[in-house]
Symmetry: C2
Subunit: 223 residues, 2 copies
Amino acid sequence: MNKLMDPGTDPQEKTRQRRLAPEEREHQIVQSAIAVFSRLGFDASTRDLAAAMGVTQPLLYRYFPTKEALVDRVYDEVFVRRWNPEWEEWLADRSIPLAERLKRYFKDYARFVLRSEWVRIFIFAGLSKAGINRKYLSRLRERHFLVIARELRSEYQIPEPTADSTEEDEVELIWAMHSSVFYMGVRKWIYDLPTPKDLDRAIDMRVDAFIAGVPPVLRAYRG
Amino acid sequence: MNKLMDPGTDPQEKTRQRRLAPEEREHQIVQSAIAVFSRLGFDASTRDLAAAMGVTQPLLYRYFPTKEALVDRVYDEVFVRRWNPEWEEWLADRSIPLAERLKRYFKDYARFVLRSEWVRIFIFAGLSKAGINRKYLSRLRERHFLVIARELRSEYQIPEPTADSTEEDEVELIWAMHSSVFYMGVRKWIYDLPTPKDLDRAIDMRVDAFIAGVPPVLRAYRG
DNA sequence: CAAGTAATTTGTCAATTGATAAATTAGCTA
DNA sequence: TAGCTAATTTATCAATTGACAAATTACTTG
């Protein structure tokens, strides 16, 4: 969209800055790659990438030794650098009822998930290289799911898990809740279906159903 | 795995039937393609496909005019022909408590979803051609989700939906339940995470939490 | 303003891809 | 067993791909 103007057409010749500082260009490549990969998948050609930013294809190799290195960088950019440390704090803040904390957390999380790059790149990554998501998912489990499980026990007087299997029960039901939010992004960005009219309402209802349904079930399945 | 034995090595020359009846070969191609596409995605090369079945690549073009025709056929084979009409009957059978019906339905559905072809091909399809899943998903909505919503109202005395938005509330919460089952397949076949030790238990808990949580929420959000 | 540095482009390569045409041969039938 | 039909293979093409080397040129510095 930029840097491709016909020099003769542009009277403000100064705006046609074709040569960028390396850090700037690298940043531009990564951002552009996020957009292109999210649309076309990691099979997008390096020529597609270059064209999307108005640059020639071999230039990419000045900044990334291989295409795979760029793919890895994109993944890192989207899933590691965009992790919000506040999420864990919100979930653990006992001055607020757990239902409220969960609503705040999932609404914010949904805002990420409902961006096309997030869902599509996460899924593309999982499909093309098995296990690449594992680090992200184990962080999700340790820092979010296990905190939610603990807070749930604390607020609803659920006994501590004795065996691994009872801890798995808790995590499974939290996975179910989490899935239902993430899957809204899948419905929109992978299935091309409409999003609920009122996103906040959809999440409020999910959390309320979770709070009403999960604690009694956890108690009933104890043993 | 077959039809590639060295003739000199095989004493039972008869077993080396290389030439198949067209219907047989076509069936073999489709089945083989399901396996390969599910592993490598629709970007798998026609040579990969041919190699997987011990046949040369141009032969595929005797049976399918283009690669895309084969892709479409695979999608049809997996998602249209494997639809089980009994699902709708189970859900509507009022001689059984709704919770039981849902458990039976989702357990059977989970058996499909936890096959790698189902999840991976469905997602690959969604990613590569937007909208291709829509027909399947609208059938899911009409024949399963709306039935569940109706049965839920009937069994738990929930008033009929007045506006579209209240019907959307119901469908959203059923989507949430459905997501949590489908996503078990995503976790296994896309993220490469372990499946719950006891799948039936995991589904029982989800359904029980759904039954305990959803009706009160639907009543509370009325208006 | 001249010269050097390095960002960017031009040119090119080998490998892989979907697809077609022509040659081959397995297996049926007379 | 000879001959025919069609299933299958061999050979090949043009387009696309990731990657590299060398030429070019924008910008900085003295």
